[in-house]
Symmetry: C2
C-alpha cells in the first residue's frame, strides 16, 4: 500500500487503528451477521453504540451532567442558522467575534434571523490574530466565537470571560477534543465531525439544558435543539455509521490517554513545523501572529508563487497530501488534527528543511 | 458468520457485494493509500465518486437533463420543512395528500410556514388505502404526496395527473429506485437514503431546474435548494462516505440489469408474502387494501396479540430480523427493499406457512 502523509483540512486523516477495526467488523458487527449500516436505529445494538459515544465524549471532555450531547446533521453551516433561530429572540442582539471566514459566515446567517453586533474583529489585520477588546451590545442574546480558524491558522488560547447571563456559544469544528476545554464556561458548543471526531456526516452539539428552555415552538422540528434533546437524537434516523465511527475515534482518544495527552502531542507536532518556519530566515513565513497560532492548522507562505507551486508539487511527489492553502487565500497549510501522527509531522518538518536547503 | 434475514424498515439491508467492496477498499481507496472517509471533498478522487453517483442515478431513473440531483442531509424530516420554506410563497396554498403518518408530519411542518390544504386523505379509513378524489385548493403552491407508506404498507400505483403549472412533489424515501417512475411528471422528488439507496446520512433530491427560480434569497443558506444546485452539493462538506456507499449501491442496481429488472424482482418478492397472507384463511390479515398494497413494506397481523408475540419471537429465533410492526400500530411488517434477496422472502413465506400449520 502506498505510504502517504495526510494533512487534509477536513475530511481529514483518521486513526489507522479505527479504520482497521471498522474494516474487520464491516459485514458482521458483534457477531450479529449485519453491518452497522444495516442496523435499525431503534435496535439495542445501535442504541448501545450511540450511548457509548455519548458516555465516552462526556468523560473525555468532562462535560457536566446538566449538558445534553446531541447528534445532528448538516455540519457547522447548518448550525450557523440553527443557533440564531433558537436563541436570537425579539429585542435581543446576537454578538459575534469575527476571527475569520467561518465566523463571517456564521454572522451572515444570523443577520437573516435578527439583530446582530460585531463584538470584536481582526478583519482589518487580515485575521492574522484572534481579536481582542470585546465590546458586547445591549441585551446580548449570546456571544459566538469560532475557536479555531482553519483558513488563517489562528486559535483562541483562552475562553472569553462573560457575565453569567450571557451564553457563550462556540463553533469548535476544527479543534474540539484537541485540548482541554472548560465546557462549563460555554452554553453551547458545536462541531462538524470531519476533523477530530470522525468522518463527515454528523454534527456534535453540546448544550446546557437550561438554554434549551429558550427554543421557540414554532421552529422547523429538525432545527429545534429540543427535538434532539427530548428524543435522544432519535427523532428521525440519525447518520448511524458516522456515529459508530465517532464512537471508535473516541475509544482511540481514550486509548491514547485522553485529551490532556492528545493536547501535549498536538503541541509537540505543531512546534515541529512552527520551528522550521521560524528558523527559516523568512523563507517560510507564518501569516498567523505567534500568540494566536493554531495547533491544528499551520499556515505558511514561500517567497514567490512559483516556489509555492514547486513546493506543493514536490511535496505531493513525496506522498504529502492536502498541503495547499485554502482556495480563498492560497499559500500552504498543514492540518495536523489528532489523528495525524507525530512521525508524519517530523517527515513534513524534514521535507520543509530539505526543500529550503536545496533552494539555497 | 451467523445467517440472518434482514427485514428492517430502515436503515435496512444492503447488498452483500456492496459491503464486501467497501470492506476491501476501506483503508485504501483506488490505491490512494487513503480511506474514502479521509479524502478531501475538494479532491478529484472524491469528486469522481460523487459525479459517478449522479450520472448513474440519472441514467437508472431516466432523469431528464433539466433536473438537478442534489445531496443534502437531515433526511426526509428536514425536507418536510425545506419544501414549504422554498416553495410555499405568499398568497399560495400548499396541498397535501394524507396517506399515512409521514405525510401527516410533512403537513405539520408546512403549517408552520404558511397556508395549507388537505387535497385528499384516507385517514378516516385508517390509511388502509391510497386516497382518491383529489381536490386542490385555489392557487396551489404544489401538491405533496408520500409515494410509499412504510407504517401502513400502502403505495401509490399511479402518478397523480395535475395541471402543468402545479408542481408535484413526492417523498419517495421508501420506494425510490424500486420501480420505474415518470420523473418528468414530478417537480421535486426527495428520499432519505437508508431504504433503497445506501446507509443513512444522505438525502437525495431530484429537482426541476425551473422550480429553483422560486427559492427565496432570505432562507438559511443550508435550507435553500439553490445553494446545493449552484455548488454541486459542495457548498460545505457533504457526507462523503454515505455518498460513496450510494455510488456502490447504484452500481449494484445497474449490475442487476437496472430498475425494470429490480421492479420485476420486487413484485415477485412481495407476491410471495402476500400470497401466504391471502391463502391463510384470515390467520394472517393484511390491513392494506389489495389495490394499494406496497411492494416495499408488507404489513400483516395475526389473530391475537399473544400469537403476534409468539410469531415475532420464533421468527427471531430463526434469524429473521426487523419483523415487528412500527411501534405506532404494532402487528408485523416485512420490509423487502431492493437489497433483500428473493431467497430471504422465500424463507419468510415458508416460515409464515409453517407457523400457521403448527398452530392449526
Amino acid at each position: 500500500m502506498k505510504q502517504v502523509f495526510n494533512f487534509n483540512a477536513g475530511p481529514a486523516a483518521l486513526p489507522k487503528e479505527v479504520l482497521q477495526k471498522a474494516q474487520v467488523e464491516l459485514l458482521n458487527y458483534q457477531e450479529s451477521g449485519l453491518s452497522v449500516m444495516e442496523l435499525s436505529h431503534r435496535s439495542m445494538l445501535y442504541e448501545n453504540i450511540q450511548n457509548h459515544a455519548t458516555e465516552r465524549l462526556r468523560k473525555l471532555m468532562n462535560i457536566p451532567a446538566d449538558y445534553d450531547i446531541l447528534y445532528m446533521q448538516g455540519g457547522a453551516s447548518l448550525q450557523f442558522s440553527a443557533v440564531p433561530m433558537n436563541f436570537l429572540t425579539e429585542g435581543k442582539t446576537a454578538n459575534y467575534c469575527l476571527s475569520g471566514s467561518w465566523s463571517e459566515k456564521a454572522l451572515k446567517e444570523a443577520k437573516k434571523i435578527g439583530r446582530t453586533h460585531i463584538a470584536s474583529s481582526s478583519k482589518e489585520e487580515n485575521y492574522s490574530h484572534i481579536p481582542e477588546h470585546l465590546e458586547l451590545s445591549e441585551n446580548p442574546a449570546y456571544l459566538h466565537i469560532t475557536s479555531n480558524n482553519t483558513i488563517f491558522g489562528t486559535q483562541w488560547k483562552t475562553t472569553p470571560e462573560l457575565d453569567a447571563e450571557v451564553p457563550l456559544i462556540a463553533d469548535m469544528s476544527s479543534d474540539i477534543l484537541s485540548r482541554t476545554i472548560p465546557v462549563e464556561k460555554y452554553s453551547l458548543i458545536y462541531a462538524g465531525a470531519q476533523k477530530n471526531l470522525g468522518p463527515s456526516g454528523v454534527t456534535v452539539v453540546i448544550v446546557k439544558k437550561e438554554l434549551l428552555k429558550r427554543c421557540p415552538d414554532h421552529l422547523p422540528t429538525m432545527l429545534n435543539y429540543q427535538t434532539f434533546a427530548k428524543n435522544g437524537s432519535l427523532y428521525n434516523t440519525p447518520p448511524t455509521f458516522s456515529i459508530y465511527m465517532l464512537s471508535l475515534v473516541l475509544d482511540w482518544v481514550a486509548d491514547q490517554g485522553g485529551v490532556a495527552q492528545i493536547e501535549a502531542m498536538n503541541a509537540e507536532k505543531a512546534e515541529l513545523i512552527y520551528h522550521v518556519i521560524d528558523s527559516s530566515d523568512s523563507f517560510y513565513k507564518g501569516p498567523a501572529q505567534p500568540g494566536s497560532r493554531s495547533n491544528m492548522n499551520v499556515t505558511f507562505t514561500l517567497p514567490t508563487d512559483e516556489l509555492t507551486k514547486k513546493f506543493l508539487y514536490e511535496a505531493s511527489e513525496h506522498g504529502f497530501i492536502g498541503l495547499s492553502g485554502h482556495r480563498m487565500i492560497g499559500g500552504c497549510r498543514a492540518s495536523i488534527y489528532n489523528a495525524v501522527p507525530l512521525a508524519h509531522c517530523e517527515r513534513l518538518a524534514q521535507f520543509m528543511t530539505d526543500f529550503r536547503t536545496n533552494f539555497m
